[in-house]
């Protein structure tokens, strides 16, 4: 191989390495979603599961928040991002529940093994925030869901009735702070290890969903100041 070709190839390789390093470091920066402008939802993708939930950014007194209103529907908003939670494991957000979905039974834990359908019917939450860990194949993708439920005890970890790869973590419980803003901060790595029993891979997306499709009721919640991928 001539020296000239060798130099060109080395230069190309160096450029590629620099570019990939820049991308990695750029992605390692914490990402914040203040929802302070009505156009804030433009960078999010809407994903419809069953019917459309109304997601609107409401701006009041120079400050804004994301409002979600679900009526017999389940759709979420989805944001793709990439970071290594082992480097920057924290996620935080503020949320407020204005109306919980109407579940017939107060406690789903006791009933979940009795009837999958009965449990499925209760898989509605006023507010939930997803952290999604994509894998090479879609069926291996894992997700953590932080939910605010009216009756489940805080800290409960459940497996979704839909898939073993979806773990539901009750981050907030009850109606004590009903209609009040609550700040949450979680360590993704710790939660993932508790839920799946192993260390997580890269985070590929976060999502928000307020749903009432299973209970055919209505729910309303607000979200604000989401911050992902930072160290404490």
């Amino acid at each position: 191989m001539s020296k000239k070709i060798y130099h060109i190839l080395s230069l190309l390789l160096l450029t590629l390495l620099t570019a990939s390093c820049c991308t990695v470091f750029a992605d390692q920066e914490p990402k914040t979603f203040p929802f302070s402008e009505t156009s804030a939802l433009e960078e999010w993708e809407e994903k419809i599961f069953k019917g459309k939930v109304l997601y609107v950014v409401k701006v009041e007194k120079r400050d804004g928040y994301l409002s979600a209103y679900s009526q017999n529907s389940a759709s979420g908003i989805f944001y793709r991002l990439k970071f290594d939670p082992k480097e920057t494991p924290m996620i935080s957000w503020k949320w407020k529940v204005l109306k919980f979905p109407e579940k017939k039974s107060k406690n789903i834990i006791d009933e979940k093994y009795d009837s999958k359908q009965s449990w499925l019917e209760k898989d509605d939450y006023a507010a939930r925030l997803y952290v999604i860990f994509p894998k090479i194949s879609f069926n291996l993708t894992k997700s953590l869901e932080y939910v605010w439920d009216a009756s489940l005890p805080k800290g409960t970890i459940l497996t979704s009735p839909y898939s073993e790869n979806i773990k539901i973590i009750v981050a907030e419980s009850g109606k004590k702070y009903f209609k009040k803003w609550i700040y949450e901060e979680r360590n993704i790595v710790d939660d993932y290890e508790k839920a799946f029993g192993r260390a997580p891979g890269e985070v590929g997306a976060i999502a928000i969903m307020t749903d009432t499709d299973n209970t055919t009721s209505t729910a309303e919640a607000s979200y604000d100041e989401i911050k992902v991928g930072y160290k404490k």
């Binding site: 599961f49 989805f78 898989d123 879609f138 069926n139 993708t141 979704s160 979806i166």
Partner: protein, 140 residues
């Protein structure tokens, strides 16, 4: 009638050349089709999953479809392999058979046992080559 009489009963000759040809044809058919199937499967399902986004939507809508597709693939795979193997045997036989026969008949021509022109089967390959060999034999 003549072609029926000349038909080879055994599709698999004990010839290293046919074995090599058979393996080459089989691999040449299996590898690209396997790659295309895996790529299509991976691209289609991963694109659909990316489009659905919400994990519950993926688990509810896509996983049952993927399971059905997996069953179909696993059921049709042995059948496809048998068909491809059959085609590979037939093709390798059409190439290796005439060579095997030409070799034998040329040996008989060299030893002076045979002077009649060499005849191949209807579907055999290498007919132009046989014709040229026949021309050489008839010139002698």
């Amino acid at each position: 009638m003549k072609d029926k009489k000349n038909r080879r009963r055994e599709k698999f000759l004990n010839s290293p050349f046919q074995k090599k040809m058979l393996l080459l044809i089989f691999i040449a058919a299996i590898v690209p089709s396997g790659i295309v199937t895996i790529c299509l499967y991976y691209i289609i399902f991963n694109l659909l999953a990316a489009q659905l986004g919400i994990p519950e939507a993926i688990a509810y809508n896509l996983l049952p479809v993927a399971r059905k597709v997996n069953i179909i693939i696993l059921t049709t795979l042995p059948i496809s392999l048998i068909i491809i193997w059959g085609i590979a045997v037939e093709l390798s036989h059409r190439i290796a058979g005439p060579i095997f026969r030409l070799e034998k008949e040329l040996d008989r021509v060299i030893s002076g046992e045979q002077k009649t022109p060499l005849v191949l089967r209807k579907k055999d390959e290498l007919k132009p080559l046989t014709e040229k060999i026949n021309k050489i034999i008839s010139k002698k």
